[in-house]
Amino acid sequence: MRRTGIFYAQLCLTILLCLFIVIPIVMSALAGVTVNVFQGLSSGLTLRWIFEVWDLYASSIFLSLWLAIACLFVTLIAGVPLAYVLVRKPGRATRLFEELLTLPVAIPGLALALALLITYGGVSGYRSSWLFILTGHVLFTLPFMVRSVAAVMSAMDMKTLEEGAASLGAGFWRRFFTVIVPNAKPGILAGALMVVTLSVGEFNLTWMLHTPLTKTLPVGLADAYASMRLEIGSAYTLIFFVLIMPLLIAMQILANRGSKPARATAEDK
């Protein structure tokens, strides 16, 4: 194929756009490993800032990971059965419930946090524990889990599958765990990755809800930007990046696998 001038013009534009987005990321990452960012790279490369971040904020990072796992646990236990009910018993009540469930995504995180503070702020043991932040995270991420699982569930003929299993003698729980859950696995996996990613990165809500002892990774990041030298903030970003990237890539892979058309069936001989 002969390439025209238009092709090269488009190529240039695409490359420029990519650079526009990628350069700040590279700059930020480099700043995290530069001895003195104001002198530039000539000052030399170092891992010092990374270690310093680790010393200062390791607890925040671990708290974030712990919160993400706890949040995943709660959304799995609550979200999968919820999705099942929403798909299996469609009606006005379930529709209304679904809307309610989605509300926390639409409302600004700050407002949601404020509501939580007004209602439960006085319960001191709860207010100061990580469970308070977990509550916010669950409210915010649950709709993503439910949506993701419900989408897969409504694509399979759950009613007939269940009837098939029931005719073979399987009671409700057996049907649920041997037929419904395994077949909803793609949705559950995608939802799980989404929940973990959102929980690790959540800032709005968490910033309002946190106490000095319950600081999460993004809250610590804001803290580092505001009060530490630029190199430390950048090193922090680098750590965050390393944590979140594998999750995002896994999510992309899962999404691709889900959208592939079903394999063609073999012909009858």
Binding site: T160, L161, R174
Partner: protein, 364 residues
């Protein structure tokens, strides 16, 4: 559900008789799906529920399965057991669905083993039974395949094997062949027929296809708008339909209005004795409707003819020529002709009714 050895033994017997007494079904929105009816199915019998969509045939099947419950006052017995209030899990039925309902997360063998696992059959025996089932359905080479790698015909074979493996008391088949193409449908139908005879299991088969019903049923129940229109052997249904609806549904869709006096009627311009078309179910003097299939009318010479008609359409079906003619009754009538004969559109033809192939109903 308890699995006493005694119960398992009984399932291996010829089959379970099923009795439905005074069963009716009204749905939550108030629609009456089934008028109250009684129906008994003999042990080991294959009963076909036949009718157009919305006639209630699937509702009966689902009531027997335990997926729907009869209105208060109805009772369902499997042999001596009253199963009216039992859920589907407790009834030990085998079910085959139009959409197969195979579990996509399991292999073919795992699908077939599912019911046995639920029954807590020991692994060695389970594996053995799964192998037997797969061999019987000629799908043993597919044991480790995933179900999404199978064709429609293979899937339905797996579904059959899965339903039969736990030795159910009754096998329920809900339009199992509807999703398959015509050629495969006939082949699988033959296989299912042989299988049901071999197992001697009580089977209830729902279909809207009268050919399928004739081929499979020991008895056929023809359903119309929530009521049983006729129960009988395929021959009875075919030869002596009780109502115009049944006649029409099993293929006698040509209809003529005549007045019968002392067993004779004026067909076109000829007075013919039609009393030979009367049967145990129907036929009497008075204003009547004559129903007949495409072979109930024949082309003939002008001298023998009852009617003179005009050819409206001709379709070549291979083994015969199906000709639509106008001018005999109010509606056009279909006639079969020799496939090698030449019939042209608009041609004037002579034809006569074959009295033995008519069914006569009093007109209302």
């Amino acid at each position: 559900m308890t699995n006493s050895p005694n119960q398992v033994d009984r399932a291996q017997d010829a089959g379970t008789a099923i009795t439905l007494t005074n069963c009716a079904k009204t749905f939550a929105d108030g629609t009456r799906a089934l008028m109250p009816f009684d129906l008994s199915i003999n042990a080991g019998e294959t009963l076909v529920l036949l009718g157009p969509s919305g006639c209630g045939k699937t509702t009966i099947l689902r009531m027997i399965a335990g997926l729907e419950f009869a209105d208060a006052g109805g009772a369902i017995h499997f042999g001596e057991d009253d199963v009216t209030r039992q859920s589907i899990e407790q009834r030990r039925v085998g079910m085959v669905f139009q959409s197969y309902a195979l579990f996509p997360n399991m292999t073919v063998a795992e699908n077939v083993a599912y019911g046995l696992k639920v029954q807590k059959v020991a692994k060695a025996e389970r594996d053995q039974r799964v192998r037997e089932m797969l061999e019987m359905m000629h799908i043993d080479m597919l044991a480790d395949r995933r179900v999404d790698q199978l064709s429609g015909g293979q899937r339905q074979r797996v579904a059959l094997a899965r339903a039969i493996a736990p030795r159910p008391r009754v096998l329920l088949l809900d339009e199992p062949l509807t999703a398959l193409d015509a050629k495969l449908r006939v082949r699988l139908r033959t296989e299912i027929n042989a299988l049901l005879r071999k197992l001697g299991i009580t089977a209830i088969y729902v279909t809207h296809d009268q050919e399928e019903a004739m081929a499979l049923g020991d008895r056929i129940v023809v359903m119309q708008k929530g009521e049983i229109a006729q129960i009988g052997t395929p021959q009875e249904i075919y030869r002596a339909p009780k109502t115009p609806f049944v006649a029409d549904f099993v293929g006698a869709s040509n209809c003529l209005k005549v007045d019968i006096a002392s067993g004779r009627a004026l067909l076109g311009r000829v007075d013919v004795d039609v009393s030979c078309a009367w049967n145990a179910n129907t036929g009497t003097d008075g204003l009547s409707e004559i129903y007949f299939r495409a072979d109930g009318l024949a082309f003939c010479s002008a001298d023998d003819a009852h009617f003179t008609a005009t050819v409206e359409a001709v379709s070549y079906l291979g083994e015969k020529l199906r000709v639509t003619v106008a001018g005999i009754g109010d509606d056009a009538v279909m006639v079969d002709a020799d496939p090698d004969s030449v019939v042209t559109l608009g041609e004037t033809v002579h034809c006569r009714l074959v009295p033995e192939k008519l069914t006569v109903f009093a007109a209302n």
